[in-house]
Structures are given as C-alpha cells and as structure tokens.
Assembly symmetry: C2
C-alpha cells in the first residue's frame, strides 16, 4: 500500500482514470503466463514519455519498485512485480509513429501489439519478422524486453536483430536515445542491444525504431510425417547441415499432435511419432528449388508423408495448429510449463532422446515442441500444481532438462527469457564471474534497484 503523498504525487502526474489501486483491479496485474503471482501496489497507464519519466522520478525518490508490463504474455515471470510497488502498463502508449518503407524502418511506442504493426506494414508489402506465439496480443515493448523470437526467426533472426534504436527512461528519470533510423550505425556502444532482452531491469523503453523487411514473393509450406521421432530430429539436422535455411522448421511429437487433435481436430496425423512443419519463402523459383531439396532430405531420413499446403487457407490452418499448442496444453491440466531450452542444431536428436528419458525417469508426460531448425526446444508439461508430489517431479524433470541442454553445449533460453523461471539455473551456463558482471551492469545503471527487482540480476 502506497503512502498517501506518493499516491497523490502519482495521480497528479497521470490522472485518476489511469491509476488503479483497488485490490480487484490489482489482481489482474499480478501474474503473467508463468506460475508466480505477486500484487503491485498500484498500476499506472502512462501515455507519454514525459509521464513515464515523472513517475520514475517519484519512484526513485521513494525507492519504489517499477515493473514494466506489456500484454503480460511472458512465460518466465518477467513482468510479475515480486517486490510489489508500481506496475507501468504500456497499453496506452500504442501509437505507430511512423512507417517508412523507403528507408525500411518503423517507429512505434512500446504498447503497439505485434500483429497491429504487421497490419500497418502489410499494405506497403513489408513485414516485421519476429513472430512470437503471442503475436496477436503481445506488445513490441514486451517483445523487446524479452528479446522475443518465434518460428520464422530461423531465417530472419530475433527481436534484437531488428531494433535499430530506442528511447529509454533511466532510473534518474532522464530520457536517453540510442541508435538511429540507419540500418548501419556504430556511433557509440550498442546500447539498444543491451536494453533488448533486459526484461525491464535497466530502464523503461518508451519508443522503438525497428527495421522492417519486404514481404517475400512466395511462401511454401509442408507438413512432414515420420514414424520415428529420431528420424524427425535427424531430418532437422540434415536439412540445416546441408546449407538450406528455411523460414521455419517446427517439430511436434506424438503427444503434442494428439493434444492438438483432441482439442481442435485439424486433421493432423495422430499416428505420427514426429511431425515437421517446414516453410520456405522468397522468389517463387527459389522456393520451388529449396522445397524440392527439403523433400529429398526428409525422405532420406524416413518421412512417410509429405503434404504441401495447396492454398493460403491450408497454410493458415497448419500454422493455426502449431500456434494453438500452448492453449491446447493449458486445457489438459490446471498448470502448464512451456519450457525453452536451446541446443546446437546437430544436438537436436540427442536432446530429444534425453527429454524422453527424463520424462520416463520422473514419470512426467513431456510434450516436445520445437523451433527445431535453430535448436530451440519447448518441452511442455501440463500438470496440477496442487498435487505436490507430482509437481515436485515436474520441477525436477525441468532441472534435469536444463542440465542436459547445458551438457550438450546448449543454453537456458532461446526466446522466453530468464525472469523468475530460469534464475536458479543460470549457474549451469554462466560462471560466477560472468554472472557478477551482469550484476555490475545492473548496479551501475539502476543503483537503487528500482526497475523490476527480484529477477535474474
């Protein structure tokens, strides 16, 4: 509960309508798509950078925690205000300030929804590549905070590859700008990249300049079925190892496919042990050639069926199946963890074997879903947290998965971030001195630890 003076100071900045502090209101801002919850003392909806800066100055004076929030779709607990204080919800800073396709950039406020940006770009024949599963609801600010990925990042790269510049409110309340509208810019340290993926722990991003790219002329999508999950994984390494880089190469195991079929019945092959959803794009002749090579490769690896989407509608249906996985698993049990461990792509077959062994060992049913082309695996578990015995096994199984990933040269997160979920596992992939360096940066930039305290740093 904030003291009355602070409350008045904040309402003076933002007005009563954009200030929430009744318990029933606060409850909506206590959680994300991870498991932890914690109530903020107040939720504020700034509309301008000046308001954000003024709020931060009040917070800094009173050492009040400030946690930024986009749409709350994070799956690692990043926007959960574990130390309470203020949640700054950026949903009202949602203007697309400029779309400039001649110079291939767009300038947006952090609350712009990813899909809305796509809709603004499409009439110009352009798009913004990062496409997290949450594309229809998550915000660019949240995408930047978590350095979001998505299926097509295999070919196109992740959020940080598209952030040309940004405006940031620092803990001092000062407003700084890094980068520019220029695709090439080596003027000073690459600070946009430092803030991208910093999960709101270093400052509040209030404006973002993004690189945008021309839409490809053609897209081709196939669904490939295997009788063996090992074969499926081998096909992934084989395609990537041969030098082809598809837009996306999504892997689903039998459990995942059947969960989707049970829930929404899209006609996926229930009997398959593994399924790959592969997409290429570009000039149509290039797509044709690449797809031919991909089909050769998957057949060599034992594919039993290759089904190409004949129409845009069929293609959308395949992707809808893939995109619904998370929701589908959420229907199976009260709690779901969608994990995010990444290994070098040649280790995908081994990592999948390990995940299955770990599932057996801990008697936990683990669905495997992966942006397999870049080794980014999303093991999925649907379970019931209130069943303490089962839950303990679930947590142990994830610990084992992270350890296996690290042992194979992998890392803790490809796109979900660290937040609350992964902090305990950081030592698996970063030694003490390297972790200390994260803290050194955090302390220098936010000496009173007002920004999103209690997270990985």
């Amino acid at each position: 509960m904030l003291n009355a003076d602070v409350r008045t100071a904040l309402i003076d900045i933002i007005g009563k309508k954009r200030y929430l502090d009744r318990p029933e209101e606060l409850a909506c801002y206590a959680y994300d798509a991870f498991l932890e919850e914690s109530l903020p003392d107040a939720v504020l909806f700034p509309q301008t950078t000046a308001e954000v800066a003024a709020i931060v100055r009040v917070a800094a004076t009173h050492r009040l925690p400030v946690t930024a929030r986009g749409a709350g779709t994070s799956v690692c607990g990043a926007p959960v205000p574990v130390h309470h204080g203020l949640v700054l919800c950026f949903s009202k800073m949602n203007r697309i300030i400029e779309v400039n396709t001649a110079d291939r950039y767009a300038i947006v406020e952090p609350g712009v929804i990813n899909a809305d940006l796509q809709r603004a770009l499409a009439p110009h024949g352009f798009f913004y590549p990062p496409d997290p599963g949450s594309i229809n609801i998550s915000t660019i600010g949240g995408n930047v905070a978590l350095n979001a990925g998505g299926p097509r990042c295999l070919k196109y790269g992740v959020t940080v590859d598209y952030v040309l510049g940004m405006e940031v409110v620092l803990a001092s309340g000062k407003v700084v700008r890094f980068g520019s509208r220029n695709v090439k810019d080596v003027t000073g340290y690459k600070l946009s990249a430092l803030f991208c993926g910093s999960e709101g722990t270093l400052g509040l991003v209030t404006e973002i300049i993004l690189k945008v790219v021309p839409q490809p002329e053609a897209v081709r999508t196939v669904l490939v079925t295997f009788n063996d999950l090992d074969d499926t994984a081998r096909a992934v390494s084989s395609i990537i190892g041969s030098g082809i880089i598809p837009v996306a190469m999504e892997l689903m195991d039998k459990m995942t496919v059947n969960a989707i079929e049970d829930a929404v019945g899209l006609g996926l092959p229930r009997e398959a042990e593994g399924v790959l959803l592969i997409e290429v794009d570009g000039i149509s002749e290039a797509c044709e050639r690449e797809m031919r090579r991909i089909v050769e490769k998957v057949r060599e690896c034992g594919a039993v069926e290759v089904k190409e989407a004949a129409t845009a509608q069929e293609r959308d249906q395949l992707w809808a199946a893939r995109r619904q996985t998370y929701g589908v698993f959420a229907k199976i049990a009260p709690d779901i963890i969608s994990e995010d461990v990444t290994v070098p792509v040649s280790k995908v077959p081994e990592m999948i074997r390990r995940i299955r062994e770990i599932g057996k060992q801990y008697q936990v049913a683990i669905g495997v879903l992966a942006h397999a082309g870049d080794g980014n695996m999303h093991p999925l578990i649907a379970a019931d947290r209130s069943n303490k015995e089962e839950w303990a096994r679930v947590l142990e199984s994830f610990g084992a998965i992270f350890a296996a990933g690290a042992e194979l040269g992998g890392t803790l997160s490809g796109e979900h971030g660290i937040g609350l979920a992964k902090t305990p596992y950081l030592p698996l992939v970063m030694d003490q001195d390297s972790r200390d360096f994260l803290k050194l940066i955090k302390r220098a930039v936010d000496p009173d630890n007002i920004f999103n305290p209690g997270k990985f740093v």
Copy 2:
C-alpha cells in the same frame, strides 16, 4: 617509459621475445590508418587468455593504459595509444579453434585474419559475411572492436549480427564469457553486443564465437554507368524502395573512378558521372529474376550502360577496382581521410548533392564512394596535412558533411567507428544525457579507465 619493476613483471608473464620497447620498434605501433600518432611504452604479444589476464592485472595495479591492437587498419584512430602505456597486439592469438558448419558457427581467437577465416570456411561451403575493405589483413578481433561492416553487409548485416558469444578479460583481470554456440540465446543481458563496437574501451576480447552461413549457389554482378550522379543516387533508392535487397550496391563518382583508372587501369568508364557495382546472390533462378528487376530499375533511372561480369575473373576484377579505392587515393596526396557518414537510403541523392556543394564551398575535391544500398557514404579526401591552409578547409568540410548527415536523419559512422576521428562530432547525433550514459557504462566496467583511454568515452 615503464619503470623497471613493471617491465620485469610484464616480461615475466610474456617472455622477452614477445615484449618490445625499443623506440624503433614502438614506432610501428603508434598509428593506424587515421592521422594521429602516439607512442606506446611497450608492445606485448600475448598467446593465451591467461597471459592477457595477467598483463591486465599488472596494468590495473599500476593504472597503466592498455590498448588492444589487431592489424592496425582502423581508420578512426581507435588503436592509437594516445595515453601511451601498453599496446596488446593480438597477432599471435590467431588460432581458428573450431569450425562447425553443422551447427553453423566458428570459434576464433581475436588475431585471426578475416580472409583466413574465409579460407577455412570455403571448403565446407560456408562463409563469414562481414567483409571490410581490409578483409585481407584486418583481424576478427579488430572487426569485433569496431563492429566492422563491408559491401555485402547490405544483405547480410554487420559484425554484431554474427557474434554469438565471446570471452573477455575485464579490467579486474577476471575472465568472463557471454553468449554461446547457440544461434538463439536470451540468457542474461546481450553483453557480446555491448563489447562489439566498444573499440577496446571496456575489456579485451580473447575468443569469439561467430555465426557462419552457407555460400550461395550463384552470384551475379553488374557494373552500371550513369551520365548523372543524381540519377545514380536515385537508382539506389529506387532499387531499395522496390523491396529488392542486393548483396552489395557500391556507388563511385567520377573522381573516384578516374582515380582508380589513373592508378590501375581496370577499364572503368572514365566519362561516367556515376557508377554502381551491384551484386546479388542466392539460388540461380532467384539471381536471374532479381538482376532483371535491377536492370529495369537502373534503366528507368537513366543508366547508359549495364555490363555484367561474365566470369568469376571479371567479377573479381570489378571488386578489385572497388577495393583498391583507398590505396589509390592514398597515392594522390600524402594524407587521406576516408570518412564514413550514413543516412537513410532515401536521403542518398540529397546527401550526395550536399557533399558536392560542401566540396565547392570549401574548395576541396571530395571523392564519393558509398555502400549506397544502406546509405553508408565514404567521402574521400586526399590532401596534404603540411599545407595548413588547405588542411583547415579539409577539416571544416568534414564538419559540414557530418552536420549535413545528422540533419538528414543520418549518423556519424556506419562502420568505421568513433575512435579519435569522430569524438568531437558526437553531440551532432547524441544529446548530453545519452553521451553521459556511455560514460556511465565505461566507468562501471573500467573504473580506472585503463582500457584505451582518451577515446570517445
């Protein structure tokens, strides 16, 4: 001059053979390809990370400046030891530790020459995209320190886009590691990106994990001639604006073409007011289609001749012409400045007009060379520093060029870095608070300012 104890301590670490401090030896490490010179007190050639860390601990104890050096090809003064102290030359840390094309990465020591990495990758059908003009002599460590670019960065991106991870020796002498072999990795802050482009001011990079990519199946290269420089620039914006992204699109003006012809006689069209060297790569059918569209666009913009390289040899010859520009200008006069100002690509025609006006205004002959597709211009002046009156006009003209670039929404450097050359101009593109933030990071990471002091931060 170092005191005897420090000298002994350093020689104890590295041995006498890898320690230089005679004046005639030091003179070779006092400069780069920019104009300033400053002698170090000693030059050391470490062979291992442990040696680097031990040297840094001695330097930190005695607050001795430590300036890293690769091949010394920087054109902004970055490796010039303006505060004297130690130069650490990484030429003996030049091992290619691993090439892994299945997982698409290579691990190298900082002293590996860019072209040597290319030679190691070529037999596997892979390459490392960043290709600075200095590719045959500059080192990956130097490329990382300056976040180097090059012609093909138009399609492929610059160094930071390829740095997956690194090992760094901090000012404390501690060794930290960021990133991993994984293409997708959001585990903690993106610190590899912070060190990339930091010009040796934050720490010493001792190992680098680089993303590598498959070689394209086909490459096509054309040389396009225009009778008007405005038309040339318009063709650039027209191609990029239409959604085509060539590998490279190099622009040369009449002065540049004639300087090349005078020096090496490669058969470039001397009478042309503007020349574009355009390259596309990929699957052959795609190259064919893209090249056809490019030729349409340049003809629409008034191209008078379009000449395609029929053989690999002809292609190499066209690129040799482009790559020799710097050396050719260096023959014209005792001193050369190759500048590096970047504007949004739609502003390329306007920026070229401004550069020509500025040349007239200050009575300075400015050659225009540009990675035009990404708006990265390299105005070139060959002059004589000993002619003080002329030199004053040269410096003023560059100030005017940077101001013009900033006014058009551009930035100070696309790929050369800030070093000594651009520090005075930083206020044109970064306000005081943003510049203060650079200093805040520097102070936090290197509190005694031992790493490359006297540079932009």
